[in-house]
Symmetry: C2
Subunit: 130 residues, 2 copies
């Protein structure tokens, strides 16, 4: 039984990503795992996150304040980004945008493969602080 693409750090990185709903940055994950793996390198986090993306075990939410945000939840859902604190929240309510794949494909004569819906605004925590 050949277990390719395995290392304890890679496994820990993926588990840390799947175990949070904060949609973290590479740097945040690096700092989180640094205590458990004192010799962890930031480059390793970046490299593994990139690999998770191409493998499909992680997705990118987008870039918030100059930093890419990752999501280990690959089930289809949308996101809300707080323009004040940068928090990224999940929205699991279906939005019918995916239902437009075929129509968009026809309109553009293109092959539509995915759809991201991003809401922006002020989150509840930031509203309270005002």
């Amino acid at each position: 039984m050949k277990r390719q693409n395995y290392s304890r750090k890679r496994e820990a990185i993926l588990q840390a990503l799947q175990g949070t709903n904060t949609h973290p940055t590479a740097e945040w994950m690096y700092l989180q795992l640094k205590s458990q793996f004192p010799d962890l390198s930031l480059g390793t986090v970046y490299r593994n996150l990139a690999q998770f993306k191409t493998e499909g075990s992680a997705v990118s939410v987008g870039i918030v304040n100059g930093q890419e945000r990752f999501d280990g939840n690959t089930s289809p859902h949308s996101h809300f980004i707080c323009t004040q604190c940068g928090a990224v929240l999940d929205i699991f309510k279906p939005l019918y945008a995916e239902a437009s794949f075929s129509e968009i494909s026809q309109e553009l004569c293109a092959q539509v493969e995915s759809c991201d819906v991003l809401f922006r605004g002020v989150c509840s925590d930031c509203l309270k602080k005002q």
Copy 2:
């Protein structure tokens, strides 16, 4: 009549952005305008684009291949991004995602202000080339 925030270069940058549907990068705009304004600086393009965004006369489509893409069309519409060539295409078909503002607001106890819908796939040109 006070004409604040005016300069021939700023006007040219905005007109160039509004006169294309390619959703260009700052660098693309710089190269486009360089022939007309030989002493134009890339920093000036970046600074004006940032100002257009805060003023609301331009919006950001997102970051494609590491570069921010801008749109001078501020009417609500969606976008398709080709994952092969990086082209950004407009989609004017309404997608009913905006209709979910109030529901999302309730679900998150947040103040939703905008919504971006991004489709990804392979554009017609790239499909032909395969």
